[in-house]
Symmetry: C2
Subunit: 147 residues, 2 copies
Amino acid sequence: MVIGSSSLRKATYTYGNIVGRKAFKINVPSEAHVRAADYIGIVSGRTADKFADTGLTPVRSALVDAPYVVEFPLVLECRLLDMFEIGLHTQFVGEILDVKAEESVLGEKGLPDIEKVRPILFDPEIRTYHGVGRLLGSAYSIGKTVR
Amino acid sequence: MVIGSSSLRKATYTYGNIVGRKAFKINVPSEAHVRAADYIGIVSGRTADKFADTGLTPVRSALVDAPYVVEFPLVLECRLLDMFEIGLHTQFVGEILDVKAEESVLGEKGLPDIEKVRPILFDPEIRTYHGVGRLLGSAYSIGKTVR
């Protein structure tokens, strides 16, 4: 079983959707979608049609009762397994039932490559978004020369 | 109360330390420490002296019974509040009792700035480390022009 996890405040509209449907999707926007992604975080689904406003396209899949964004390069479809209270947030833990990735973001081995997905980094203190920077090295490898 | 969180596999040496001491520190290495950070992830504290091998300096603080790395630009000292099982990992949730940040990584408002901390991104699928990339925009702001 492969695990996906995401956290939200209880006051959000999405919180009720996830608890009610026992499912969630992790939609990973790319750098190109940074304005739309910020808008999605600012407004609530209670009062705005986020898809209509941003021009993004919702798609329902047979697997999990929650929409995904067809323009985003990477989507994880999860079945809710567990919920934990962590300070102001509730952390949702799910079993990943499917991963939908655009062909263009896959690396040599057929796995999503962070340099191609180009996800958005969020600094909650300074309140900025950043892209992914330069390659620093291979994990479980560059450290072998230390000793 | 401000919350810090980190997750580990149960088999790790650090897992036992955290459970025993009911405390943990989140040591955030910078790009410059990527080789040492990889080494720290590869070897176990059961069989290696990670500080001696990497040349990093452990410091004990009065606040929390766990060492921090003096060379790393940002350290969160946490008192263990809760533990959750999430797949293969245990997630530790703590109250942040102190934040130690080098002067040089603080932004205009005295908060740690991701562009100055320069933390390391880890892609667990492709197994690469990356730096933080270019500024994409201000959060809770650039999305306001959508509607």
